[in-house]
């Protein structure tokens, strides 16, 4: 280890430019156990007062570089590195990505006091400085002694910023501080950062750059191998390297337009203002069958054909889309049904459905339905009951009222759970929680095998056996096993995981884990897919990949119901928008997009 750590006060004696805040020259760094160098002779200089944004694909080493510049590596995290010159700022404050793991004390004031204690600030001075720090980041709490757990994620990040400010840093380092926040949280955290950053040096690593771009002085763009691709003013970077950014999965302001085209929205969609109004919860009638009638009148047979053309692998695994429609006779709500007669049966119909938690209603849905070809965006503020609704639909929470699942009407929680297990796939937010085996291939195989075994056990002719019948008469002999194995491999191939079949699921990248969790959920071709914030915290590339997946499923006659905070999804892809507010499904709004609409893929997913 030959690095020399100098203090910036002695490092630069040039008077013309501002002094150097941080510098690395010919940095080489390698994580123990990884075969390759993360950086090979990287040099970067940051001057005092500069606002620098580090951009690059996932895994290119941006966060590591930030930690080197912040003096965390090698002081706190011991990673072998070598540099001809390494200047780190005299004092730094850091805000990390995860709002839940930056605090060690239970209360807001105690957490901030922890910093002051470390600095040996006298006790008498602490309350004043705590109050001041909270005011600076716009956290106006009447009493600072509130549990950190009661704050929203955005407030927690502002608290993290406040505790960084108490260190009186000349350099602020931000390691994706808004990646795990909803749009409102993102807005306020960046406002707070801007408000406190005026003369400080600010170094930012971030995938979502909309809020950062217009006040950053400089953008450093990294290539996938950890070398610097470009280092320039933001405008010029975005002129020249837009293609790279799309490829790297950076959420730049036009990412949605570049991925889906800007014209689509204007031709087909409802006025955004209307959607915005619906989402903010004002005044729309709970159900609008008329909108559906208007838009989905034509070409309902088309999508099944196109789906088969698009998904050759899928069609080997799955039955054609209309096979899901059960033969039970239609009942009630004729308005919606009349719109597309040949796929009249909803996959899911809620009627005065209430999800209970601890005996109390946490989410009530008066009336809503999901049909084949639906992509439903389930939106609403945090804690409104969106996740509870999904858990209730899966029969994981007790419920009251009626939830009709592909024609059946399960009465109790257990029956609903069984019906849901047959008809619906659920993808949790953290994919790791869903993995049950030690090999990627087994993960997919597990689903197929347990379904096949369940089908064997099921009494013939009763219940849902009729639905399972066209797929396979599962006898788990060698032939059936070989067939399941073949299906699993085909499924992995389709999800771009073919090369990783032998790996442990935990060793996949974030995007791959997410794809695997979706793959293992839908491999047995359940008609209804429920997802809990599938694009949350993902870079643009992973997010679009997931959306393409959902869109392909939708177009092939599945129904997709996803919780999301991303308004762009609601506006560009959704056929229905369900809004949950204060424990109630407050509006069900049919967008202008019909269920028979053709496949709408992102730019990268079309090839």
């Amino acid at each position: 280890m030959e690095s020399r750590i100098e203090s910036p006060l002695h490092a630069s004696r040039t008077l013309t430019a501002p002094p150097i805040a941080a510098e690395v020259r010919n940095l080489r760094l390698k994580f123990p156990g990884s075969p390759e160098l993360l950086f090979r002779d990287l040099s970067l200089q940051i001057r005092q007062g500069e606002k620098v944004l580090l951009l690059g694909p996932s895994g290119c080493g941006k966060s590591t570089l930030l930690q080197v510049l912040g003096g965390i590596i090698p002081r706190v995290n011991e990673v072998p590195l070598k540099a001809d010159k390494l200047i780190v700022p005299y004092s730094t404050g850091i805000v990390f990505q995860d709002p839940d793991t930056q605090f060690c004390m239970p209360y807001v004031d105690e957490e901030l006091a922890f910093v002051l204690e470390n600095l040996a600030v006298p006790r008498a001075e602490m309350p004043r400085r705590i109050e001041q720090a909270l005011r600076e980041v716009g956290l106006n709490l009447p009493d600072a002694h509130v549990p950190i757990g009661s704050l929203s994620q955005g407030m927690k990040q502002r608290l993290a910023l406040a505790s960084a400010l108490l260190l009186e840093p000349d350099t602020l380092l931000l390691d994706e501080p808004s990646a795990l926040l909803d749009p409102e949280g993102r807005r306020v955290i960046w406002e707070a950062v801007r408000a406190v950053s005026d003369r400080r040096t600010v170094i930012i690593v971030e995938h979502r750059v909309e809020e950062v771009l217009h006040w950053a002085d400089r953008v450093v763009l990294f290539a996938a191998d950890g070398s610097i691709l470009a280092d320039d003013a933001p405008e010029r970077i975005f002129e020249r390297y837009r293609a790279e950014m799309l490829r790297y999965g950076i959420w730049y302001p036009q990412a949605w337009n570049d991925a889906y085209g800007s014209e689509q929205r204007s031709t087909a969609e409802a006025p955004p203002s209307r959607i915005a109004r619906t989402l903010s919860g004002q005044a729309d009638t709970p159900n609008e069958p008329t909108a559906l009638e208007t838009w989905s009148g034509s070409g309902s047979g088309k999508s099944a054909v196109s789906a088969e053309a698009i998904q050759p692998v899928a069609s080997a695994v799955s039955a054609p889309s209309y096979a899901y429609a059960p033969s039970a006779s239609a009942s009630g709500e004729a308005a919606a049904v009349s719109a597309s007669p040949d796929r009249a049966e909803p996959l899911l119909r809620l009627d005065d459905f209430r999800v209970l938690r601890g005996g109390k209603t946490v989410c009530a849905a008066a009336s809503a339905a999901a049909y084949p070809g639906d992509l439903i965006a389930l939106t609403g503020p945090n804690g409104a009951g969106k996740s509870s609704l999904l858990l209730g639909l899966m029969g994981l929470l007790p419920h009251e009222g009626s939830c009709e699942c592909a024609g059946g009407r399960p009465s109790g929680r257990k029956q609903l759970r069984e019906a849901a297990a047959k008809h619906a796939a659920f993808v949790f937010q953290n994919p790791e929680f869903q993995f049950v085996t030690n090999r990627v291939l087994d993960e997919v195989l597990f689903t197929l095998r347990s379904e096949a075994e369940a089908a064997l056990r099921a009494p013939r002719g009763g219940g849902f056996a009729g639905w399972l019948a066209p797929r396979r008469r599962a006898r788990l002999d060698a032939v059936a096993e070989a067939e399941l194995l073949r299906q699993s491999e085909a499924c992995l191939e389709r999800f771009g995981l073919g090369d990783y079949a032998e790996r442990h699921p935990y060793l996949l990248s974030l995007g791959q884990k997410r794809r695997l969790s979706v793959a293992s959920a839908i491999v047995s071709d359940k008609p209804l897919l429920l997802l809990d914030e599938p694009t949350f915290g993902q870079d643009a590339r992973n997010a679009f990949a997931i959306l393409d997946l959902c869109e392909r499923l939708r177009a092939s006659g599945h129904a997709v119901l996803m919780i999301t905070h991303e308004m762009e999804i609601a506006e560009r892809l959704a056929t229905q928008i369900w809004t949950v507010e204060q424990g109630k499904l407050s509006s069900v709004w049919q967008t202008a997009r019909s269920r028979d609409d053709e496949l709408r893929l992102s730019e990268g997913g079309r090839g």
Binding site: V76, T92, D98, C104, F114, E117, A120, V121, Y506
Partner: protein, 265 residues
């Protein structure tokens, strides 16, 4: 209002935890060294009473928490009553034999477990973890390294519980609840994802703490003072008085009138 928040503040709340802890340890020792059933009976009664009066929690909450003592009492005393040795057999059936000695020894063990439980719960209900660690750091020079690690880990526990719930749901969705082999795999199925998440989280928290210049070697100040006040004297008097009262009652007003439980009663 969270469940674990006292509705009244008593002397015991205000006492310095660094002094209260040795006091309660002394009470534990006293309870362990009690060998007369009358003394253990009155200790159980007095500290149960003190628990209801001085914990600062409403009656129903204290009763709810104390209801666990019934289980402790039953499990501790029943084994002794049913399987203990003795000469004066009252009733026997197969391996079970209830003798006079085993019966009273069982009750004695049960009373002591109630006394233990009341003392422990009284300490826990009147002491906040933050207050305890601040007192230990300032009064008996506990290393901040351990104190803050403990406080941070307390913060992480509800998150791990929440994840346990999510994992349970996820396994139900994947259909892992079914089949006979799944019971054997339970530890593996839960341990791997929860540990992976917890280790990551702990590592991140540790980094965040060091970045905030947490350095165990340096001098530090404390947000909460931990003074010794007259409340400590009051708490001392209260606890010592309670213990003395129990012992005096056992001497003057014996219920069972039996001797040392280690010998033949």
């Amino acid at each position: 209002m969270p469940f674990f928040q006292p509705s009244r503040i008593t002397w015991l709340h205000r006492a310095n935890p660094a002094l209260k802890l040795p006091l309660f340890i002394a009470l534990f020792v006293l309870t362990v060294l009690t060998h007369r059933i009358d003394a253990s009976f009155y200790l159980a009664c007095v500290f149960l009473l003190l628990l209801f009066c001085a914990s600062g929690y409403p009656l129903w909450k204290t009763a709810l928490l104390a209801s666990g003592f019934a289980v402790a009492f039953a499990s501790a005393s029943l084994t002794m009553i049913l399987f203990g040795k003795g000469s004066e057999i009252w009733w026997s059936f197969g391996p079970i034999s209830i003798s006079k000695e085993s019966f009273y020894r069982g009750l004695h063990v049960g009373f002591r477990s109630i006394a233990f439980g009341s003392q422990g719960l009284l300490f826990v209900l009147t002491t906040s973890s933050t207050g305890l660690f601040y007192a230990l750091m300032q009064r008996i020079k506990l290393s901040p390294k351990y104190a803050y690690s403990f406080m941070a880990s307390i913060r992480l526990m509800p998150m791990a519980l929440e994840e346990l719930r999510i994992r349970r749901d996820a396994l139900a969705v994947r259909g892992m609840g079914r089949g006979s082999f799944s019971l054997l795999r339970v530890p593996e199925l839960y341990a791997l994802p929860l540990l992976a998440q917890s280790i990551r989280r702990a590592q991140r928290t540790a980094t965040a703490m060091e970045v905030k210049r947490f350095d165990t070697g340096k001098a530090r100040t404390y947000f909460y003072a931990s003074p010794v006040t007259w409340n400590d004297a009051a708490a001392l008097l209260l606890l010592a008085g309670a213990a003395t009262a129990a012992l005096l009652l056992a001497h003057g007003l014996p219920v069972f009138g039996l001797g040392d439980m280690r010998m033949d009663p």
